[in-house]
């Protein structure tokens, strides 16, 4: 499925966006790039007119004027616009919160880093994050807790600022992007094949989804075919990735509710899944198989069916016990409520939006690889709390195992790779439903046939934004549980 490209005049942009949003559309992503390696940006918006509608791309060429901000119409665009201000030097008129996002407070670049002529490193004098001013008669009772970026346990770096009174959280600001590595820029000048190696290293626990979305973007740019067997094996890899991620998620969630045996068992099952991964692919993260045009070598499938059967046998009673443990459920039910309206408006994705009643899944709605030919089930819950998020993940583990087993029964034979030559100047969009939600890659190929601009939208970029709304007005005791129930990663968000 190709995304349709449409030119939108700058003057019509807000009007079109209002009409689309009123009609139930969701703005999925926005980014800027510099055609012909020039200095004039072109803005792209990725629009999903309705859940099962094909994706559309709006193209907007601002030339001299600044671009009108769409954040007041589609709030989830706020982060994309702020990122474009930081990294591409685009001005957005009327942005309600024009603060830096992808660059830390105090970081500056001589030239916007994603402009093709930019060279050199950022300069940086650390500054405190901007927190809302608190006024009123008892404002001295409000405490500020800056937590991080180095935090307890083996976790990714980020700083969380809490403004709170006693147990109650008034305001929460996650200062992400300590891990911003400038990954999108690193793709510039690479060949299509080498780009996969990099895509797999944007977020390790989403290696397959990143590699797959990247390959699909190039395949759509090259308009090349992927052989059926490779399409099926791609689903195998993607579902194996979902398995170990969701098992880790359950173990970690038990850690926050102090259910020790539940934690140990979840993490043990995750280890079993990772060991299955390495026997199948040679990599515990299922890396080094994907390539534009197919997959690089045959995975080893001997014994996989039995191993997954044994895993399912251990998983089902474990999941049933989690769902029957009142001390665990007490901490999850009504914790971190995310309404379906908020989930939709703020761009929550994956198991998070599906736990808030939004029945959306690109594997079915904008189907790709071999998903249309396989018995895919989409888990949906309506409560929007931490418990619903656990339930969606539990169901997805069981579904993934069933899906892989069905896939192994009917796996077609034949070749696994066809040549994929990407024409100079081409562009393509690829997506995948990662364990954490939908992931997009937009790729623009330069005139020499090498990669030009590569834009990555990771699921956690969307879910971190939605997450903050569930923390305001909650309490400190529930914070860790709520955060674990979202299953967020930082490497992909920060890039």
């Amino acid at each position: 499925m190709m995304a349709r490209l449409e030119d939108i005049a700058l003057a019509d942009l807000r009007g079109r966006c209002e009409t689309a949003v009123k009609g139930g559309a969701r703005m999925q992503m926005a980014y800027a790039w510099f055609p012909d390696r020039g200095t004039v940006p072109e803005i792209r918006y990725l629009v999903n007119a309705g859940t099962t509608q094909p994706l559309q791309i709006w193209r907007c060429r601002p030339r001299t004027h600044a671009v009108p901000s769409l954040s007041t119409i589609a709030p989830l665009l706020s982060w994309y616009e702020r990122e474009m201000m930081d990294l591409c030097g685009v001005e957005f008129e009327g942005h309600p919160q024009p603060d830096p996002l992808a660059l830390l407070p105090g970081a500056t670049a001589a030239t916007p880093p994603l402009r093709p002529d930019a060279t050199g490193a950022l300069s940086y004098t650390p500054e405190r994050s901007k927190l809302p001013e608190i006024t009123g008669p008892m404002n001295e009772d409000v405490q500020i807790l800056p937590f991080g970026p180095v935090r307890a346990d083996v976790v990714e770096s980020a700083q969380f600022d809490f403004q709170y009174v006693g147990e109650g959280i008034l305001h929460y600001h996650p200062q992400l992007f300590f891990k911003h590595r400038g990954m999108e820029k690193r793709f510039e000048g690479l060949t299509a094949e080498l780009g996969v190696v990099l895509a797999e290293r944007v977020s390790a626990i989403g290696s397959v989804a990143h590699g797959l979305a990247y390959c699909r973007a190039l395949e759509s740019a090259a308009d090349c075919t992927v052989p059926p067997r490779a399409q099926w094996l791609r689903v195998l890899l993607a579902e194996l990735e979902r398995l170990y991620n969701h098992l880790h998620y359950l173990g970690h969630l038990c850690h926050t509710t102090t259910l020790k045996v539940g934690e140990a068992q979840g993490k043990f099952l995750e280890e079993l899944a990772k060991q299955i991964n390495s026997r199948v692919s040679g990599s515990r993260f299922l890396r080094s198989l994907l390539t534009p045009g197919g997959i690089r070598r045959e995975p080893l499938l001997a014994g996989l069916d039995e191993a997954l059967g044994a895993l399912q046998e251990q998983f089902l009673p474990y999941a049933a016990m989690l769902e029957a443990t009142t001390t665990h459920l007490d901490r999850l039910i009504t914790t971190g409520m995310l309404s379906s309206q908020l989930a939709f408006d703020q761009g929550a994705t994956g198991p998070i939006e599906r736990a808030s009643g939004l029945d959306r899944d690109p594997r079915r709605d904008q189907a790709y690889a071999a998903y249309p030919e396989l018995p895919l089930k989409v888990a949906v819950r309506h409560a929007g709390d931490a418990h619903a998020r656990q339930q969606v993940r539990i169901e997805e583990v069981a579904h993934s195992i069933e899906l892989i087993q069905a896939l192994l029964r009917d796996l077609p034979g034949g070749s696994i790779r066809l040549p994929c030559r990407v024409p100079a100047g081409a562009e393509g969009l690829g997506w995948a439903e990662s364990p954490r939600g939908s992931l997009y890659y937009a790729v623009h190929v330069d005139r020499d046939g090498k990669l030009g601009r590569v834009k990555i939208k990771s699921p956690s970029f969307s879910n971190w934004r939605a997450f903050a709304f569930t923390v305001h007005d909650s309490n400190m005791m529930d914070y860790a549980i709520n955060e674990a129930s979202f299953g967020l990663s930082i490497a992909g968000c920060d890039r």
């Binding site: 670049a109 950022l122 180095v150 083996v154 045996v261 993490k267 080094s288 016990m321």
Partner: protein
Amino acid sequence: MPLWTLYGLKQGKVSTAWPKSGSDGQAGVLGMPRFDSSKCQSDCQACAESCLPKAITMIDGAETRLAVDYGRCVACQLCVEVCPTGAFTASSDWAFGVRRREDLHWAQAVAAPEGEALKSSIQRFFGRSLHVRHVDAGSCNGCESELQALNNPFYNLHRLGIFFTPSPRFADLLLVTGPVTYAMRGPLLEAFDAIPEPRFVMAIGTCAVSGGTNGGGYACGNGLDGVLPVDIYVPGCPPNPAAIIHALLMLLERSAQRVRAGHVTDGARSA
């Protein structure tokens, strides 16, 4: 209400006793490709062109045409696939922890291991109990995923007397992942300064060793060299939990370094 204790007991013991005995859990894992310079043909540079992190580079005029730096290798296996003569072959060599960065550079001849370094005081002080503080300096989260795995019931790191600690004040070892982003450089140095001496530093993963595929650019450094003094380098993308355990035991002189001049020297397969 489920009886978790009973359930846990019924699961039995699942921890491996590796490296003393039992499985290392890494069956099937592809490690660093092995290089055989005698098979390298003279008019080809396919491997160097397919090596994103530049672990393989061409040297003009030298007898061995290639320089191979395992400190930059991400084990993507592309060199194995493109080499027409089998000079690079897939291997299960993943325990690549070394004390000196030079030992990750491939050389034709492997110098005889220097007489085992004088037993330092590390074994006396920390041999039975080591406390580790981890800092993520901009990783892709792969190294964290494997570090977290160390405490799962299979590897059960505690059995070796090694513990992660939240406070650098209680730590003996700083374990760093990632190529060191501009934003994490300061917090990383602060964490190091907060660790009382004697203290040790371990660079976990190819990014921390050399920058790997992700280092450099406008927002990143190239790993720990020049930032902190490194005691053990552990390349790998990411190093698997057994490779990390091997490196930790190596630091404690409870396990021997296996790699010299880019060769696995003890001859034994890692399994």
